[in-house]
Amino acid sequence: MIYNIPFFTVIALIAIGMYAVIFKRNLIKIAIGISIIESGVNLFLITLGYREGGIAPIFTNLPPDITPADIPEKMVMPVPQALTLTSIVIGVAVLALILAFIMRIYKEYGTLDAREVRRLRE
């Protein structure tokens, strides 16, 4: 049960994020919602790669008491970490672009309320 806590956190984060994106009217809050969903997905990826009592996956810098034979049990999985890094970088770019759009919308419309930002729907 205790080992499942990260997965429950993932579900909670994604649910909170989806709630913010779907029901909130403030554009900044929508951006925050996307950011929260992304944290949830990243946490999920990291949790998958975790090993209890694991060591960093660097072959050239092994602790002396570790032999190559028990590497599969001892090392955390490196691929999920690489995927998470990529996803964080992409997430920063997306968030920056969304905030830039929100800034332009605020300049033109004078509001951040999604109900009033709908000049496109005639």
């Binding site: 554009l27 770019a93 672009l97």
Partner: protein, 514 residues
């Protein structure tokens, strides 16, 4: 020549990517050199894609392991599974690559005059090249995580270009587009994590080989299908489409259409190759058919009352996406049954043929709408009129595009729609009746556009648009007429291999060896 063909999968992604980062530097040095450089890169990519297409149609699938000394060896000698990033291009992938490269070439030629100097034109070309990278990457990759990465490249570059005009409406459309894209991208990433947690694999072919179709796989399937359906503009999630398409510069709208078809390709790849025959075929195929019918009908009925010319065309883009979903969904519905060989494969051919036709004529129509906007500075149909007196070539291009989208012979829309009508009739006559009804409504709404924009007395004193814009439209018109005159040739040599590549899952899995 052999060297070129072996390495062209990597070159096709590398060239536009490098050129995108060189573009700001060349922009600083000389404006004219920048234009020539951009056009040159798009032409080289187009030529490379055509060379690769010839080779793939003749000799079969291409694989390319990035970073391996021998790039054809996808599984390294020390490992049992493909751990490198693999590009895997079959007939379907190169078919979509041809669409992307052609539309981007036309858009870049068109933008030479359409995008004014002094408004960050260098950045415009940088982002256009990145869109090309994103599309080609999505279509060529054999690795599900890279699918996500290229999907994000495509979304970010497209969103930045939708907001290009820096007006409030443009930012609003781009905001909606980016919210939808990033949420669907996170769905994809979540399902990648689900796959990696179960199978320790990221390669599509290796995943498909080990697929057990557990409950987690079903969740991943639902996430992937909803993400890609959201991005290709199928009906329950179509609302971003008209907003984003109408505010973007016209050349970008044409590439956005190609971009949403790249996600359509990803949807088909997931259904056919990743899950394949292990899928609950009736359920997913039926769902695609229902999505398709809804998209067709809702898109066209929403299009008729529109006053904004680009919004109207955007709703038609939704309705045309329905035809592709209908055709390929019918193929998926019948996959693995004896009926598949008699008419299921025909339905898939119709759907896939419609993808290339739609990219060409919808691209052309958006470019003509852009030509009208370039001269009149308005998108409102009520403020137009009598344009045919002066803009002769534009009106000819518009007629060709409108007849093609309505499915009037001898243009290309007719060829693919006829195949769809014939083959889905065998499943249920209602399907083809709805499809024909939608075609008639399409024709009706384009008659309305033609009448209010081009006919009537001369009320605007305008000139024909510059030559480079006409050349851009001409490229697409040439393809439309060529496809319309020789549909059998195209179906046999390009579309049939693509449909077979989707249907024959085993071949795709064999290509990585192991």
């Amino acid at each position: 020549m052999n060297w070129l063909i072996t390495h062209s999968p990597a070159l096709l992604i590398l060239l536009p990517l490098l050129a995108a980062f060189l573009m700001p530097i060349i922009d600083k040095i000389n404006k004219k050199a920048r234009n020539i450089f951009a056009i040159l890169i798009f032409i080289i990519v187009e030529i490379l894609v055509i060379i690769l297409a010839f080779d793939i149609i003749k000799n079969g699938m291409h694989v390319y392991a990035i970073g391996e000394k021998n790039p054809l060896q996808t599984i390294p000698s020390q490992a049992a599974v493909p751990i490198r990033i693999v590009l895997q291009i079959d007939a379907m992938g190169i078919f979509m690559g041809l669409i992307s490269a052609t539309v981007c070439l036309a858009a870049s030629l068109y933008s030479l005059a359409y995008i004014e100097e002094g408004k960050g034109k260098g950045k415009f070309y940088t982002l256009l090249l990145l869109i090309l990278v994103g599309m080609l990457g999505m279509e060529f990759t054999g690795d599900i995580f890279n699918l996500f990465v290229f999907y994000e490249i495509l979304s970010i570059a497209s969103a930045a270009l939708i907001a290009y005009s820096r007006k409030g409406e443009a930012s609003e459309g781009a905001f909606k587009f980016l919210v939808i894209s990033s949420i669907s991208a996170l769905f994809i990433l979540f399902s990648v994590a689900l796959f990696y947690g179960q199978y320790d694999l990221l390669n599509i072919a290796a995943l498909a080989k080990n697929m057990k179709y557990t409950h987690l796989d079903k969740i991943a399937l639902a996430l992937l299908v909803s993400a890609f359906a959201m991005k290709c503009g199928s009906v329950p999630m179509h609302f971003w489409c008209p907003d984003a398409y109408s505010v973007a510069p016209s050349s970008i709208t044409a590439t956005l259409v190609a971009g949403s078809q790249a996600s359509l390709y990803a949807l088909f790849r997931v259904c056919f190759t990743l899950y394949g025959v292990k899928l609950d075929l009736q359920l997913i195929g039926g769902a695609l058919i229902i999505f398709g019918l809804l998209s067709m009908f809702v898109g066209v009925t929403m299009a008729i009352p529109q006053k904004d010319i680009k919004r109207l065309m955007a709703y038609h883009a939704i309705s045309q996406t329905g035809y592709m979903l209908l055709g390929v969904g019918a193929g998926l519905y019948l996959l693995g049954k004896p009926e598949f060989d008699s008419y299921g494969i025909r339905a898939m051919e119709g759907g896939i043929f419609h993808i290339i036709n739609h990219a060409m004529y919808k691209g052309l129509l958006f470019l003509t709408a852009g030509a009208i906007f370039y001269r009149l500075k308005t998108r409102n149909l009520n403020e137009m009129g009598g344009l045919a007196h002066k803009m002769k070539y534009t009106s000819i291009f518009f007629i060709i595009g409108a007849l093609a989208i309505a499915g009037v012979p001898p243009f290309n829309g007719f060829a693919s729609k006829l195949i769809i009508y014939e083959s889905v009739y065998k499943i249920s006559p209602i399907l083809s009746i709805i499809a024909m009804l939608v075609s008639i409504l399409t024709l009706a709404s384009f008659v309305k556009v033609f009448h209010s924009a081009f006919m009537g007395p001369k009320i605007h004193d305008v000139e024909e648009v510059p030559k480079s814009m006409l050349i851009g439209m001409c490229v697409l018109t040439f393809v439309i007429i060529f496809f319309g005159l020789f549909p059998g040739f195209i179906v046999n040599n390009l579309v049939h291999p693509a449909a077979m590549a989707l249907a024959e899952q085993a071949k795709y899995l064999q290509a990585i060896g192991g």
